[in-house]
Amino acid sequence: MDLNTVLQILDSAVRLMTPLLLACLAGLYSERAGVFDIGLEGKMLMAAFSAATVAALTGNVWLGLCAGLLGALMLSAIHGIASITFRGNQLISGVAINFLASGLTVLLGQKIFGLGGRTPNLTPGAELEAQVTPFRTWLTDVAGADLATWLTATPRLSGITLPFAESLRPVPVLGPLYAEVVSGHTILVYVAFLMVPLTWWILYRTRFGLRLRAVGENPASVDTAGVSVTRLRFAAVAIAGLLCGLAGAYLATGLSAGFVKEMTAGRGFIALAALIFAKWRPWGALGATFLFGLLEAIANRYPNLDLGIVTVPSMFMNALPYILTVIILAGFVGRAIPPRAGGEPYVKER
């Protein structure tokens, strides 16, 4: 295995870990505030669908991104109302949200595009052109041809070449590493990575973060201090929705070009696994999702990994995040202790 292969695998790992990282941080906010969220998968799926749909209809990925955020936020609202307002079972609510997204995306997708549940391919071409034209014509009438063409010309997220990527390439090892692995990703990849220190700062260095953590450990104490448990938890669930929205939008408009049925393929659950792996901490989330992204990248590149003595089948690689999580949960490699008030609706004493 030469340096080039390693770089390619690392590059692919960075791409694959991004949706996991965003979803994992989403779960982190929600669960740190004491609201279990097994609906990450559904929210991501909904966001991927809304983002791809709007991007395909308008030819503008930023409008798609907004739609993705909105789609995920809608499901977050359902989760919040069910598990905070009506003090329902958070796990059951999460299960319902996953199914709701899985059914609605296909139902609506079939209605809008008639392509059996997928959206048109977002790479410029005849299929996409047919969808964008009505919007562009309308926009031309309203805002003029120049603006209309400019606004409808970015159906997908494109990679950003970081400064000096090419000029530093000759530097041994670090140069290619910078040019191949660090540079050239879409904006959401960098957003995802920036979210890690930001989340750390919010959680451990702001008043909001302190309260958020407190409400997940001992909501009664927060209530006694005169801070609304309901409002805090709703805020956390909303943040989770926004992050899932970014994750889904990246999946449909960055990682791939368009939405296909069930495209999250269990990523929401891997993110959940990563969250446990990370012991509900932001830097841990970065490490765990990188590990899981790397596993996926290796499994993609070597369907049957030959280690000399044994051949590791790709199914094993795909199942490895789940197996590792179970081992972590079993407490053999350090214990993962969830926020204490997680999963319990808060009832004010009467």
Partner: protein, 364 residues
């Protein structure tokens, strides 16, 4: 004093939840530009209008009875077993291994052997999550989710690399021996001279499922173990004080639950496909959650809810065949049922309680 009369609790709340779920489903159908009335008549015609439709409805219902009972038993121990999918898949492996390795001369022998294999493998797949929950306090929901994925990957590997017959491209096991063919309900009806449900997959497992309902009822409400399970589920400290061993109850409840989910395999793997195929469970494990919630965690309720979902499943298939509404409509309905009967239970319950309280005050 009870806030609500019992009949309102067991009948009215699930019915209102169901009506709400159906109303929103109707809105969804309207939103995609189709007629809800037409959709409903298509579904009723397709699922209940003929003995052919009934044959499929009852076949699906059999699956859902098993997975619904599985969720229900765990729920009484206040354990949320979301791993029915993986346990049922492993049950299929158990059935396949038994039937392919032991030459059984007659279905009457093959059925109990298959049941044992299915239940054993299903239970075994629930054992590790149960043990981790009981001993290590790791959340059963998370571990059973993980085990669903691990089961899918393991089965994928086993079918592609180990059980696939030589020369076959299909990731599926060899056919089970002819002698293990379970009698279909249509064959049984024919023996009485009635032509019913020709070419439908519903088989003798349907009666096994009904028997399982009865046994689970006996277990939960008429046995010492059932009492311990319910006591543990209601209050762990109280159960501990009464000398009930929490580790034992957690493990046993999950073993029974996993066994029941695994037993589904006698219907879909042994009764219908007669070989183990990839992804044989097709989401039935998750529907068990909706069935148990809808059925208020009572075997009779589970039976009725399983029939309802059997109807939805078969009707949904017909819908995709005859109208332009995709099959996925059922998933939306399923989600809404879970949402309203499970997570939004209080939304329905609280106004009802208030209403009954008001009525009672006026009466007094």
């Amino acid at each position: 004093m009870e806030k609500m009369p019992k009949w309102a609790d067991v009948l009215l709340t699930p019915l209102i939840s169901l009506v709400l779920a159906m109303a929103i489903s109707a809105l969804v159908i309207l939103a995609i530009g189709e007629s809800p009335v037409e959709a409903l008549t298509t579904m009723i015609d397709g699922a209940l209008g003929s003995s052919y439709g009934w044959g499929f409805t009852l076949y699906y219902a059999t699956n859902f009875i098993f997975t619904g009972l599985a969720v229900m038993v765990a729920y009484h121990a206040s354990l949320f077993n979301i791993g029915g999918e993986g346990q049922a898949a492993m049950g299929g492996l158990g059935v396949a291994l038994v039937l392919l390795s032991v030459p059984l001369p007659h279905w009457a022998l093959a059925l109990p052997a298959g049941m044992a294999g299915a239940a054993l493998f299903g239970a075994a797949w629930a054992l590790i999550p149960a043990w981790l929950q009981a001993k290590r306090g790791s959340h059963i929901v998370i571990t059973t989710i993980m085990f669903n994925f691990i089961a899918a990957a393991a089965l994928n590997y086993i079918l592609v690399n180990l059980m696939r017959p030589v020369g076959s491209m299909d990731p599926a096991s060899a056919r089970f021996p002819e002698a293990t063919h379970l009698p279909k309900l249509s064959d049984m009806a024919l023996a009485f001279g009635i032509e019913w449900g020709k070419n439908t997959p519903v088989n003798i497992s349907f009666f096994v499922a009904i028997a399982a309902c009865l046994l689970v009822w006996l277990l939960i409400w008429r046995s010492r173990l059932g009492f311990e399970i319910r006591a543990f589920g209601k209050s762990e400290p109280a159960a501990l004080y009464a000398g009930i061993n929490p580790v034992r109850i957690t493990v046993i409840a999950m073993l029974i639950s996993g066994g029941l989910a695994g037993m589904m395999a006698i219907n879909n793997v042994m009764g219908e496909a007669e070989r183990l195929v990839l992804n044989a469970v097709e989401g039935a494990g998750f529907i068990g959650i909706a069935v148990a919630l809808m059925g208020r965690n009572h075997p009779l309720g589970v039976f009725l809810a399983a029939l309802l979902f059997g109807f939805l499943y078969q009707g949904g298939g017909e819908l995709a065949l005859w109208t332009s509404i995709p099959r996925e409509l059922i998933i939306v309905i399923q989600a809404l049922v879970i949402l309203f009967t499970g997570a939004l239970d209080n939304m329905v319950r609280m106004p009802l309680e208030r209403m009954f309280l008001a009525i009672r005050k006026r009466g007094a």
